[in-house]
C-alpha cells in the first residue's frame, strides 16, 4: 500500500504536471513547486477523493492569513501528509 506521501506526490505530479522526482517531503507546495491557489484546488479534490476526507482549506487559509499558523505547517508536503493522516484517523475513529 502506498504511503500518504507517495499518494500525494503522485497526485501533485499528475495534476500539476510537475516531474515526480522534484517532489520531496520537504517541498513547499507553493514556494518550491509553484502551485497557485486555483491549481491547489485540483490537488485538494484529488486528495479528498483518494483519502475520503475533506481538507479544511478555508480554515487553513484563514489561519495563515491571520498569522496564527505559518503556511509551512500546511503546505510543506510532510506536514500536509501528517494533516491528511490525522483527518483519516479522525474519520475512522
Amino acid at each position: 500500500m502506498a504511503s500518504t506521501f507517495e499518494t500525494v506526490a503522485d497526485i501533485i505530479a499528475e495534476t500539476a504536471d510537475i516531474p515526480r522526482d522534484q517532489i520531496t517531503p520537504e517541498s513547499h507546495a507553493i514556494d518550491d513547486l509553484g502551485i497557485d491557489s486555483l491549481a491547489f484546488l485540483d490537488i485538494a479534490f484529488a486528495i479528498d477523493k483518494a483519502f475520503g476526507i475533506k481538507l479544511p482549506l478555508e480554515t487553513w487559509t484563514q489561519e495563515v492569513n491571520d498569522g496564527k499558523v505559518p503556511a509551512d505547517q500546511y503546505f510543506v508536503l510532510k506536514n500536509l501528509c501528517a494533516r491528511i493522516d490525522d483527518l483519516v484517523a479522525a474519520k475512522t475513529a
Binding site: 486555483l38 484546488l41 485540483d42 487559509t61
Partner: protein, 157 residues
C-alpha cells in the same frame, strides 16, 4: 437565453436540495450576432457557450445549496464532451448535480439535452468565495427571476 448578455438560463424548473441537483430550461435564440460569425450562413451554438450554460446551471445549484452564503466562480472544466450540433431555436434541458463539496470549492457534473438527445456534458469545478460587496443581492434577485428562491443565510446587501 440572451447570448450577448451571457444570460444562458431561461428558467430553473427544479431544485432538489437533498439530491444536490438542479434542472433548468433554455431556448437557443433564433437570432444573435454570435451566429454571424459562428458560422456565416450556418448558425451553430458555440461549445464555449454551451459550457457557460452548464456552468451557470451549476452555479445556481451551488448558490441554492449554500443558500447564497458564497459565490461560485468557475475555475475548471474537465471531461467536456460535445456530442452533437445545436442550432437556433433548439430547446435545451440542462441538469447539474454536485458530485463533491470541498472546503472552498465544489465540483459538479452537468449535461445538456435537446429533445431527449444528449448535447454535451462536463465536470466543472468552482471556487466558492464570500460575495464581493453588493453581488449577493444581485445574484439572489437574478436567481429569483429565474425561479430559484431559497432562504439565504446571510445578507450582504
Amino acid at each position: 437565453m440572451r447570448l450577448e448578455y451571457f444570460q444562458m438560463i431561461d428558467r430553473v424548473v427544479a431544485f432538489d436540495e437533498a439530491a444536490a441537483r438542479l434542472e433548468a430550461h433554455s431556448t437557443v435564440p433564433e437570432d444573435s450576432p454570435v451566429f454571424e460569425g459562428h458560422f456565416p450562413g450556418h448558425p451553430l451554438m458555440p461549445g464555449v457557450l454551451l459550457t457557460e450554460t452548464m456552468a451557470q446551471a451549476s452555479g445556481y445549484l451551488i448558490l441554492g445549496l449554500c443558500r447564497f452564503s458564497h459565490m461560485p466562480f468557475l475555475c475548471g472544466v474537465e471531461k467536456a464532451k460535445f456530442r452533437t450540433f445545436v442550432g437556433p431555436g433548439a430547446p435545451l434541458a440542462i441538469t447539474a448535480t454536485r458530485i463533491h463539496e470541498g472546503s472552498g470549492y465544489a465540483v459538479t457534473k452537468a449535461r445538456i439535452a435537446s429533445g431527449g438527445k444528449a448535447i454535451c456534458d462536463a465536470e466543472l469545478m468552482f471556487r466558492t468565495m464570500p460575495f464581493p460587496e453588493g453581488l449577493g443581492a444581485r445574484m439572489r434577485e437574478q436567481a429569483a427571476s429565474l425561479g430559484l428562491e431559497v432562504e439565504d443565510v446571510q445578507n450582504d446587501a
